[in-house]
Symmetry: C2
DNA sequence: TCTGCATGGCGGCCAATCGTGCCGACGGCG
DNA sequence: CGCCGTCGGCACGATTGGCCGCCATGCAGA
């Protein structure tokens, strides 16, 4: 049986969530909290398997509650699923960085709510599809095309950039690529003019900022 | 009505998926494919709202199918939900980079399957909770604690590191922090000895690699 | 075919910057 | 009191960056 704590300042929402969850044979709601501080106290006392936490709450908002119950510094963290009406990016990242094991929008539908609770109980994380799609863009968009400027570089120059971005000196790069010191230097020079960078550190920074690494 | 194409080489799985989906009033399965090439052809011809694609298939695997139907180069991409038994990282990243609008493990349960199809139809993405939890680790793990070595640095030294990581020269750093060139240089030296790095580029690399930036 | 042009490799020269060592000074803290 | 961090100075050599050349290759267009 999965023991759930519900934290939301609106009684209507609380009973709605409770109705949905109590309908499932493997889930039981053991407590409700109407604000953040209460949520933290109840959770610490009862240690539910899963905490369903709204973002907007008095006294302590959902992000604070999440950090208090599941943050990186907490000795043995609880499973927290954050629920909200607003899918603002700050909320999402705040919640997930704060240790949340799930992020649900209130328009997600009962099935996802139930699945999110079950997943959280397993230690897995269910994130609302509309939020996930944005997270994925951040995660996979990096295949951004060469940024226009990488195209300006020849293959060999890109190799040199990569070496610089690993902290190699010109001499080491020469040894690595089997070319002489002077060749390396001329490559570095052309790289600098092509990218309008002033020194090798800027090249390294550029490489890291543009995922060339 | 959401029109779905099912692609899986095992007939048993196909009919299982079909049974689950046909149970929903808003979903209909319009075609099945037993291998990757067939899946691509059918999808291009019928243009279903959502394609449910297994990873392991003959002739063309699920990743190739995904890229062919939803890849970045495809003019108007279809919605593809990748289904697999194995949650290998290569599969996950391959699928999501390939343009998948969902990633499901076969042990996910019917509810998630249905929700994944609905989400995909909306243009959203549902990812299996057990996979999501790993993705989030990659996304939010960066809160790795100071790596032991940052602690070794004084506040002032960290400032200098940050400036170096932006490509600034010592003189510029001095102007930025209102200290003299020689002070900057002594800071840089101590930073190098503390972190056992050999030059400023390595400091910049270290900063980026350790999210100090 | 000859002629550009880009790429890659090599060298020298010189000035600026960087890296290092070694020095002294001050203030806060155990 | 000594230690440590912060700040500053000076000198030296190493490294880098800018600016010249030179040569070979390969590819596209006149």
């Amino acid at each position: 049986m999965i023991r759930v704590l519900i934290a939301d300042d609106q009684a209507m929402i609380r009973s709605g969530l409770r109705l949905i969850l109590e309908d499932e044979p493997d889930i039981t709601v053991i407590a409700e909290a109407a604000d953040g501080v209460e949520a933290i106290e109840q959770a610490r006392r009862l240690r539910p398997d899963v905490c369903l936490v709204d973002i907007r709450m008095p006294r302590a908002d959902g992000l604070e509650v999440t950090r208090a119950l599941a943050g990186p510094a907490v000795p043995d963290p609880l499973r927290v699923v954050v629920v909200t009406t607003f899918d603002l990016d700050e909320y999402v990242y705040g919640a997930l960085r704060g240790g949340a094991t799930g992020f649900l929008l209130k328009d997600a539908g009962p099935a996802l709510l139930v699945e999110a609770v079950r997943a959280a109980h397993h230690g897995d994380a269910l994130v609302s599809p509309s939020v996930t799609v944005r997270l994925l863009r951040h995660l996979t968009a990096p295949p951004r095309e060469p940024d226009e400027s990488v195209r300006a570089l020849s293959d060999r120059e890109v190799e040199v950039v990569r070496e610089i971005a690993r902290g190699r000196t010109n001499l080491e790069i020469g040894a690595e690529l089997f070319i002489s010191l002077s060749t390396v230097k001329s490559h570095v020079s052309t790289i600098q003019t092509k990218l309008t960078l002033r020194n090798r550190t800027e090249i390294a920074v550029w490489a890291w900022a543009n995922r060339v690494v």
